[in-house]
Symmetry: D2
Subunit: 128 residues, 4 copies
């Protein structure tokens, strides 16, 4: 997924404000679903970020075009872990390991085999 | 109401990103209610921005402390109009005329005499 | 220009937060330049929003795909006026008249014939 | 430091959008400097986020008033590590370990004894 950096994304330091890389990752996760005509809301449950370990390796600037790549690391009972990386050309700018929990009304929910298969196939497709 | 400018508010031009002045005005409108132990949601209805005429007169910078002043211009059947101004020290940076509609489930709703009185008294208090 | 609505764009009312329509318009203005391999920064001068009259006509929601259309109304000595509209399918959600000033080091700058021609041709192309 | 949750901070899930907790932490870090009449920019160098390990434990909602607490974990040659926690009343909602690098023109810079002392005293004061 391609992300363009606009004025809104930058700060007075002239670079992309650090929290915006998390937004870009969320856009990419949602876009997987949209591309298949789906939404990331499944029977009223959705994927909530539970943990995010982030490395900010280098800066992006106004007008840059960035690439977000995403892959599934592991799928557990009610959560799954993804690795997401943001690059400019081939340079790695940002890397994160995200734990997402399927939750409904604030409570974790078992990820059914159906959803597991869907996640696997969505992200496998994008990975190529 | 005092607003501090943080990194998140600025852009690569080194100044506050223009759309953020609208956020500051909304914070001020909400804060009137919070200060009285109320919320801007009334029986499931809330105030939706319908129109905003904005003058961006001068720039604010990182670390600035800004003042938002707000006054009611007129209250109509299902809407009301406010004037909001943002200053740094005594310098006017931003001025807007906002039309807000009371809406529930996407439909305009009559502003009852009760709510009219509440709006008048909330904003009169702040005005001093 | 197509804009996708992500979680970051919505608020607790379930709709796109009003100030974000201004961001979408700015993205569209910048993207005109990027598409031609240009940037909206010209010899250290850039276009600053001086005035924005905004009509919020209807709401956009999570996952919506929006269209931003832009046209030049008039070009003055140091400023120009654009009309920008945001639609979902054919429904008009947002309309604004924006006055942009070419400024360098905080001071207005004459728009040269070169830049005038560039603006005309950039936006004429997109208009089709 | 007290943070109020406004509409702009929430998303269509009705809760604070996850990336905004990072903004709140940055506001708190900057505010330490502002409270002492300082800014977080030191001889043209500033503190850049290099790493952030984030736990999103529970959700915050519109109108909530949150507390951000911050303490220094360790100060190294050109970086330091902070622990920041966000609470609502006494409930822990968010916890992060942040590594900040002092950088100038994109390059890490030694943290002088002066700055070390300033950091220690700034954050010690707030900690009480």
């Amino acid at each position: 997924m391609k992300i363009r950096v606009y004025y809104e994304d930058t700060d007075a330091g002239g670079i992309v404000y650090h929290a915006n890389y998390l937004k870009y990752c969320e856009r990419a996760r949602s876009e997987f679903f949209f591309q298949e005509g789906l939404t990331p809301v499944i029977d009223g449950a959705h994927f909530v970020v539970r943990k995010m370990d982030c490395d900010f390796l280098s800066s992006a600037f106004f007008a840059d075009e960035l690439d977000v790549s995403s892959s599934i690391d592991v799928i557990n009972r009610a959560s799954f872990i993804m690795i997401q990386e943001i690059r400019k050309d081939d340079k790695l700018l940002f890397k994160t390991k995200v734990t997402l929990v399927l939750a409904k009304d604030g409570k974790p929910k078992k990820i059914s085999e159906n959803i597991k298969d869907m996640l696997q196939s969505l992200f496998a497709k994008i990975d190529k």
